[in-house]
Symmetry: C2
Subunit: 235 residues, 2 copies
């Protein structure tokens, strides 16, 4: 895997943090270091994915970036996963396991990144609702081929700040967990180049439960304290 | 309860964050607003508590503060709890329930603050180990008289920074949970005056589990990333 020329699939990349991840990974192509990422948005329908790709390109163009050096395409989830070396799951937990069925062996030997947080609203606040495996990360680990390198990352990143690629100057910690040391290091480097994220080594995948549970906590803190778009800094 | 003249018991205040809490609450007496706190350190033995009180006073004196306006005394846990209006439990979870037996009804109608985090080391990392009630806060709630106002606070505060009352200029978030709105507000105000802490409303007491679980996460992040004395900022 050449870290300077990566095909990255963002499955379900049309909602929430998907958009910010797409824009920031695409913008790495404009860095002087000569990174050449190809971003493939995956969706159930190829048309929806192609439309999202066009929108992302046009958004970057509107910001004034030179989009001639940026490749963002759209495809079905399966074809996006087949084409890519790194797959990021930016979808709700309810849809994750069916999606993994859909893409089947296309993720053999690849890095699979999960920012997925199982949570539900109870009354006016959100509550973390991990599956019986202990976390979304561990449920995904159980479901995918043994050769797939599961990395948990990007859970606690404020979506609004992440997609604000021009104005957001803040830096948020993102805690990264994996049982594969090499894959974890790789994702930490990828993260470091995203502009507003500072990667922290969160240990093995079984540590991801606390990281996942931080997301409903941040949503609740925002609501209870009249704040918005909260992220984490472990200072 | 007069917020400008409080008797605050810090039970087991000889270890970890207890020391920082004692120093910072005592220093409120030097604020121009005329706060007059009396700090009572509680311990199993009166002598140990009195010794800790002497040490805290001498530490503040060595920093150059005018200790003539500061009252820090030591007593048994029971007598400290009886004398105080606010009781802070700065002890390990294993000792909390026996201690609550020891102080019995002395905490009727009072504010009881728990920064307690049940955790254990597994391999090289720490793991959150909540009791069957879901959190230390809820186990304490179940154990104490109905009239006691249980407030969860100060879990994620870096001990080293908290007791560094002169040099530490950083501000750390502390997430405060309680089912008693008035008590929560009171503790949030008390916290705001401690100099390096920013209180955030964390909602009801059943939200304390995630806040408690952040402490082992921070300890692990420090170890894994070569950092120390980590706290939280929800920015």
């Amino acid at each position: 895997m050449n870290p300077e020329k990566l095909k990255i699939a963002i499955l379900g990349g049309t909602g929430n943090i998907g958009e910010g991840i797409i824009l920031r990974l695409a913008l790495q192509n404009l860095m002087p270091e000569g990174v050449k990422n190809e971003i493939i948005i995956g969706s159930r329908s190829r048309e929806t994915a192609e439309e999202a790709a066009k929108q992302a390109l046009s958004e970057l163009g509107n910001y004034g970036f030179d989009t001639s050096k940026i490749i963002i395409t759209g495809n079905t989830n399966l074809e996006a996963a087949q084409a890519a070396e790194i797959i990021i799951l930016t979808i709700r937990f309810d849809y994750v396991l069916p999606l993994l069925d859909e893409i089947g062996d296309a993720i053999e030997n690849k890095i699979l990144i999960t920012p997925v947080v199982p949570m539900a609203k109870e009354g006016s606040l959100f509550v973390y609702k991990p599956p019986s495996e202990g976390s979304a990360a561990l449920a995904i680990r159980k479901k995918v081929p043994q050769s797939t390198k599961v990395v948990a990352a990007f859970h606690n990143v404020p979506a609004g700040k992440l997609k604000d690629v021009v104005k957001c100057k803040a830096v948020y910690d993102t805690i990264i967990c994996s049982d594969d040391a090499e894959a974890k290091k790789f994702v930490m480097e990828l993260t470091r180049n995203m502009g507003c994220l500072k990667p922290l080594d969160g240990g093995p995948l079984n540590q991801a439960n606390t990281v996942e549970s931080l997301t409903p906590l941040l949503v609740n803190l925002a609501k209870l304290n009249g704040l918005k778009d909260l992220g984490i800094n472990c200072s």
